[in-house]
């Protein structure tokens, strides 16, 4: 089975058909799921931006990066799961079209790089966070991670919005 077959099978599933609103009574399912996706991504981006901006040196003077991360990131992850689930449903509705779409691919490239950047930070500068937790500005590695993360997430949103105009 090729990738194209898998995508076609996904797109022809009953679930994908429901999301597309093929049957009467399902007309509003796509807009509803899309709105849920927007709310979820708003929480993901907003909370990530709080941490990124703190890493760049903004925020409450002397406040702990570790504490901010522990307070905010559980909400980020919860919302991310929600965004991924709603996004998967939207994807299924036109799987072949989205998969071939340039903006869609760029969005996932940016998302992948954002994840990579997070891992590098997690296993790099963040391991020594005790040394710079309340310091402002944070070390260059942390500032870099924050700036790169902010930029990549902005790209994720731009490409995501563009998908709606090009599919």
């Amino acid at each position: 089975m090729s990738v194209a077959d898998v995508l076609a099978a996904l797109q022809h599933s009953a679930l994908a058909s429901a999301v597309r609103g093929d049957a009467a009574g399902y007309d509003w399912l796509f807009p509803i799921i899309e709105t849920a996706h927007v709310v979820a991504l708003a929480v993901v981006f907003g909370t990530v931006a709080m941490v990124d901006l703190r890493l760049l040196g903004f925020g409450v003077p002397g406040s702990s990066v570790r504490r901010l991360a522990s307070e905010v990131l559980p909400w980020t992850w919860g919302a991310f799961v929600f965004a991924a689930m709603s996004g998967s449903l939207l994807f299924a509705s036109k799987a072949s079209v989205y998969f071939a779409n340039h903006e869609f691919r760029m969005k996932f490239l940016a998302l992948f790089l954002a994840g990579l950047n997070m891992l590098v930070f997690q296993f790099g500068a963040f391991r020594r966070v005790a040394e710079w937790d309340a310091r402002r500005p944070p070390p260059i590695a942390a500032r870099l991670a924050g700036g790169v993360s902010l930029l990549l997430w902005i790209l994720v949103i731009f490409y995501g919005r563009w998908v709606g105009f090009t599919t």
Binding site: A42, V43, F45, A49, G59, V60, W162, F165
Partner: protein, 166 residues
Amino acid sequence: MLREFAGWLSATPLSRTLQDVLWVVPASQSVHIIALAVVFSAALMINLRLLGLGAGGRSVSQLVDTLVPWMWRGLGALLLTGAIQTIAEPLRQFVAPLFWAKMLMIGVVVLATAVFARAVRSNARRWDAAATRPAAARRFAVASTLLWLAIIVCGRFIGYTWAFYA
């Protein structure tokens, strides 16, 4: 009358320019989403704190001092990009009841947030010392969260419903 105004506005050189440049509306919408993410997340973190559900390590006044200015910055970006989208496609907004519902709710939630932030700032010590928040603060937290959610829903659904009224 709104329809005539929309017709006049969409014929202005500014609106024409915004319509002709293909990337203006998608780019403006993207910035709009980023700004709403900032505003909604900031409101959510404050409201969760008021409800005793998060950010326990930080005082209410500290949260308000840090996050409310970001809400106003985000709101500025929302108004600017919203205005760009309205000037580019006035009819789409003006005929949609959801657009007016959205504007009304924005007015209410912005006013409530300003009053709340003032109340916290003018009496920070009492707010931070209170073991449980006043009932009014909890009501504000619930109402503000629901209003912002409804505003986002209306915003997304304007695009799906405006054609029914055009």
